[in-house]
């Protein structure tokens, strides 16, 4: 009887310590961060790679021991590409889930809608959308950062390249969404600085199937080049129309052009299209010593191995936002104010997928036109222009 009791005690102790071992692995509370992505709806082509990236990074980080032993928990909410939904989900994340910070949302409109909420909650937002108003003016955007390059920087990269090649008269065609409108504004604003004249300014809807009318007008207005500013299928349709019309003037696309899928869809029509692209899509063509190359290679290859598709520029924005936040949490813990201060002052010459970031209290994006390479489509592949 005594023996049996002793045996039972031993078993119990062993069982307890084993279970304690397991508990110990997760003894520290998880760091909860929220992520708002447009997984469905009009901007789902942004939200999808962003969500995938978040899931992949969460797994990689936790496999490597989490953040100083704290597991990382990313709570992903679908904003359905809708501002109202983004606001509701952000409130849910902040109030119910008590997240430390939020990654996303995917679009400029949604990000703008969150600015007042983040300010009143005093929690950092690392947006994955590009629009300049997301982080400017900084004094009203204390808690808001963004990782995609400014539209203005992409415009400057294009105009700078055009100037070198003697183009002064351009026709612009933009999609009637937040992305297109922000691009249009940047194109018009920066034109005088580079001595550009906008001779025609056209628009189209996100689901339009033919843009020959607009392109014909641009040609008739005497433009020396067309700049299309859009994301989604529209940029392929414009490319096909441009090719079919044999316009005889070059077509420039925005930084939204950076997906091999676009070349695939446009086929031979894509030949000669020029665009300012982040280095993520052309990482193979970078010199080995480039500070971004190693991380771009790892991220792209991991992503492709896991999801059988390319991450694209957009997945990269989520990568940058998450890694920046993770680094801050690693250094200063889960304190919202300290995280914000850390990102503002300590993210310097920090290589990400979108460029080499240098944040400051006056610049919550940290990228300029050097984040872009001018890239032309040649033989169905990218080629970096000098």
């Amino acid at each position: 009887m005594k023996k049996a009791m002793r045996r039972l005690a031993v078993v119990l102790v062993v069982a307890l310590s084993v279970s304690l071992l397991f508990v110990n692995a997760y003894a520290k509370d998880p760091y909860k961060i929220g992520a708002l992505f447009a997984v469905t709806g009009a901007a789902s082509f942004l939200g999808e790679p962003e969500k995938n990236t978040a899931l992949m990074l969460q797994e990689q980080i936790n496999k490597a021991g989490g953040i100083n032993g704290h597991p990382l928990e990313i709570i992903i909410e679908d904003t359905k590409s809708d501002e109202t939904q983004a606001v509701l989900s952000a409130k849910k994340l902040l109030e119910n889930d008590k997240v430390i910070a939020i990654i996303g949302p995917s679009t400029t409109g949604e990000s703008m809608a969150l600015v007042p909420i983040m300010n009143s909650a005093s929690a950092p937002l690392l947006s994955c959308a590009a629009g300049a108003p997301i982080t400017q003016p900084v004094k009203d955007r204390t808690w808001v950062f963004k990782t995609p390059q400014y539209d203005v920087s992409a415009v400057e990269a294009i105009y700078g390249y055009m100037k070198k090649h003697g183009i002064t008269k351009v026709g612009i065609i933009t999609i009637s969404t937040g992305f297109g409108d922000a691009g249009k504004k940047a194109l018009l604003d920066m034109a005088p600085k580079y001595g550009m004249t906008i001779v025609a300014e056209e628009k189209y809807g996100p689901k339009d199937s033919d843009m020959t009318t607009q392109l014909t007008k641009i040609k008739a207005a005497g433009a020396q080049a067309v700049i299309n500013w859009s994301v989604g299928p529209g940029q392929v349709v414009v490319t096909k129309n441009w090719h079919a019309l044999k316009m005889g003037i070059p077509l420039y696309q925005s930084h939204g052009w950076g997906s091999k899928k676009n070349i695939e869809l446009a086929g031979k029509a894509a030949e000669g299209v020029i665009a300012p692209l982040g280095r993520l899509v052309v990482w193979e063509k970078l010199p080995d010593k480039h500070p971004q190359k190693a991380l771009l290679k790892k991220y792209t290859q991991d992503y492709e191995a896991r999801y059988k598709s390319e991450p694209g520029t957009f997945g990269g924005h989520a990568y940058d936002s998450i890694m920046m936040l993770v680094e801050a949490m690693k250094k200063v813990g889960p304190d919202k104010k300290k995280i914000k201060d850390y990102i503002e002052t300590n993210i310097r010459n920090w290589p990400g997928t979108g460029g080499i970031f240098t944040m400051s209290p006056n610049d919550h994006c940290g990228l300029d036109k050097d984040a872009f390479e001018m890239v032309v489509v040649k033989n169905g592949d990218w080629e970096i222009l000098k």
Partner: protein, 295 residues
């Protein structure tokens, strides 16, 4: 100047042809059942995506892919009617229209999960240089779209005027009870109408995908524009839907060309409203006919 005008016109024709086909799709179900099938746009998407699946993914020959796509769309139309419309104990018109909305959302979801969110495309039916007309160009695929639209219109005309099945379908729309009394299987005719409208939508989708690309959520926009086309021409009139479709397409293109591209959707809709203001039944339907309708 002529070149530019012609280019605007061709652009309008390209877009208009699709609106016309969607509009006809609406008419077929409407004529047989008085139902507005709001899932019509999804059938266009099914046409484009299934064609891609058969021809590019499975690498089947062109005509086989076309046949399979048509069969798929027909079967989906059939299932839609048999599973959602037929089981209704109390067929209320408004309820049935709401059901078609539900089906459109369901189809969109299924398409999203099976094809993902990215756009798809396959080569034009005939490869080659665009046709040049006085300096304006017209893509070969555009000619296909217009030709196929024309073919659909003519075949449907003969179907409804010359065949027993077609006439029976019309009879069901005018008065289902009377049609039943003279021995027409009304339920079967309703089913046919869904199959047929699904097929017409899918044919449109197959034809436009090489020009405009196709993605899972293009349906609602097409449905709205096609519905406008049908309304403008007068719901129920195929001739009206065709003219309405081309009219809206050309109006959009001309507005974009001569006024501003930002206003094209707005102006086209304003003109639609004006037409309905002066001719509430649409361009090709008389007032007396309108009064005979349930909806």
């Amino acid at each position: 100047m002529l070149t530019v005008f012609l280019q605007f016109l061709f652009s309008g024709l390209t877009v208009g042809a699709v609106y016309a086909l969607v509009g006809i799709g609406f008419n077929i179900t409407y004529n047989a059942t008085s139902i507005i099938n709001l899932a019509q746009g999804e059938f266009v998407v099914i046409g484009g995506l299934m064609m891609w699946f058969f021809s590019e993914s499975l690498k089947l020959p062109f005509l086989v892919s076309v046949a399979f796509t048509i069969v798929t769309a027909g079967v989906i139309g059939l299932l839609m009617e048999r599973l959602t419309i037929k089981p209704l104990k109390n067929p209320d018109l408004m309820l049935m229209i709401m059901i078609t909305v539900a089906v459109s959302i369901l189809l969109r979801g299924v398409l999203m999960f099976s094809f993902g969110k990215e756009p798809y495309v396959y080569p034009s039916f005939t490869e080659g240089e665009p046709v040049n007309v006085y300096g304006a160009i017209i893509q070969q695929q555009t000619l296909w779209v217009i030709g196929i639209t024309g073919f659909c219109i003519v075949s449907l005309f003969f179907f409804f005027k010359k065949t027993i099945v077609g006439k029976a379908m019309l009879a069901c729309a005018v008065n289902p009870t009377a049609a039943q009394l003279v021995g027409i299987n009304v339920s079967r005719m309703v089913m046919f109408s869904f199959v047929l409208s699904g097929i017409v939508g899918a044919i449109g989708g197959m034809a436009i995908t090489p020009i405009s690309l196709m993605e899972y959520d293009k349906g609602p926009m097409l449905a709205v524009k096609g519905f406008c086309a049908a309304i403008m021409g007068g719901l129920g009139s195929n001739r009206g839907a065709v003219i309405g479709g081309f009219l809206i397409g050309i109006l959009e293109s001309m507005t974009a060309g001569y006024i501003h591209s930002g206003m094209k959707d707005g102006i086209a809709l304003i003109i639609l409203l004006l037409i309905l203001f002066f001719k509430p039944a649409g361009l090709f339907v008389s007032k007396t006919m309108l009064e005979l309708r349930k909806f």
